[in-house]
Structure formats: structure tokens, C-alpha cells
Symmetry: C2
Subunit: 115 residues, 2 copies
Amino acid sequence: MPDFVSDKHLFHNPVEFAMSKIGGMYKMPILWRLKDKTWRYSELAHNIPHISDRMLSKSLKELLNDGFISKEIFPEVPLRTEYTITERGNKAVTIITALRNYGFELMNDFGIKEK
Amino acid sequence: MPDFVSDKHLFHNPVEFAMSKIGGMYKMPILWRLKDKTWRYSELAHNIPHISDRMLSKSLKELLNDGFISKEIFPEVPLRTEYTITERGNKAVTIITALRNYGFELMNDFGIKEK
DNA sequence: CAGTATCCTCCTAGATACTG
DNA sequence: CAGTATCTAGGAGGATACTG
């Protein structure tokens, strides 16, 4: 697996590339919530623990630019925007599900009990 | 999914926990190489692109402490150490394989051609 | 409501040098 | 050969304030 460049950034393997697209603190939590319904900005903001407006808007923008989600703006008063997962996003959810299941296994393996 | 603490570090979801164990730049590349045979330190050092001694030794130590690999020291001259994957490491390889396949799909999806 | 702009902190990884 | 120690840089994410 040789190095390759995408979007002016150097990658060494496919996992690194995938993580550059759906990694970080909040992208998976966002995609996970969008997997079976449309959410509006404020719903995500209130539902994802600890997320700030800065990180939410930054993450949404990147997921949007990379085609994992789509956005619809309703020019009402007050303003409403809705985020929906795309086909590319749905494929991501498959691996997120696997990662999540593995994470639970590992937590159990390490004796961490969830409520 | 409530927050939880492990090893004095705060986590928000199972994916974050999994990534704290097998994430970072080099842990997956190491586990990937150990999946079907034992490697010695210098073989890993020469085979994993761009890795420094510092990062190799640091990553190996953490994988060892977390039970993903085991280590055997042969007190010969010159010194020889061999690293072998454990059952826990093999489970990790399953998800790494899935992530890797997803990464290849995504690269293809984004028009990145590998050689 | 749905964001953006600025500034700042911490942590991962790189560079370099050294050792049993 | 198989590492460890020290120092540094870059980038992800936090805090806070502001806006169409």
C-alpha cells in the first residue's frame, strides 16, 4: 500500500483515509443519529453530549462537502434547516455499526459496564 | 449512551473507546502485520512506512499493556524480540479488515486510484 | 434559529540524540 | 538490535463572543 495524496493531504493506508472522512469526535455521532430520520440543527445540538456550535457546524459542513449528508433550508421564521443522510452516509453507517459493536465488546472485555 | 471513565480518561461512546485502544497512526498497521505471523522489532521498523523508533516502541508497549499482542525476548547476541498477536488482537483484526475494506471502497468512491 | 469568527489549549506525532 | 529521553510543531477541539 503506497502513500497517496487526496485534497492536499498525505495518506498512508485506506483506514487513514476513511478516518479522515468520518473520524474525529463528532462525525460518527452525527451520522449515527441521521441514520433513520432527518434531524434539524438544534436537535443535534441538544442531543449530542458536549458538542459546541463550532464543532457541530464544522462537522456538518465537512460531512456535507464530502457527500455523507444533505441539507435542506426552510426559509421560515424562525429559520429551520434539516439534515438527511445520503447513500454514501448510509454506507458509512454500516462500518460505524460494526465499530460500535466492536467497541461494546471491547468495553465488556475490559470490564467496563454500561448502564 | 452515557459518558464513562476508563484509565482516568473520559469517553462518550463505544467507538471512542475502541479508537483509544487501536486508533492512532500506527496501531492498526502493526496489528495488520502481526495478523498471520510473528514479527521482530526491526522487521516492523523497516516495513511500516515512516514509523520512527519512538512511535514503534510506544505503540508496541501500549498494544502489549492492553493485551492485543504478546512479546518474547530471546537473550541472544545481538538481542532478538518477537511480537505475536493475541486472541484479543485477532478480534481487532476483524474490525480492522472491515475498516480497511471500507476505506478502499471510499477511495474508489472518491476517485482515488491505488497502484 | 442556525450558524461564524477569534483566540487558546492540549495532545499526537516528528526530530534528534542517546543506551543496555 | 531494541529500544528510551527530550524537545518541538501542528492540528483537533474548547471557550467565548457575535450575526443574518
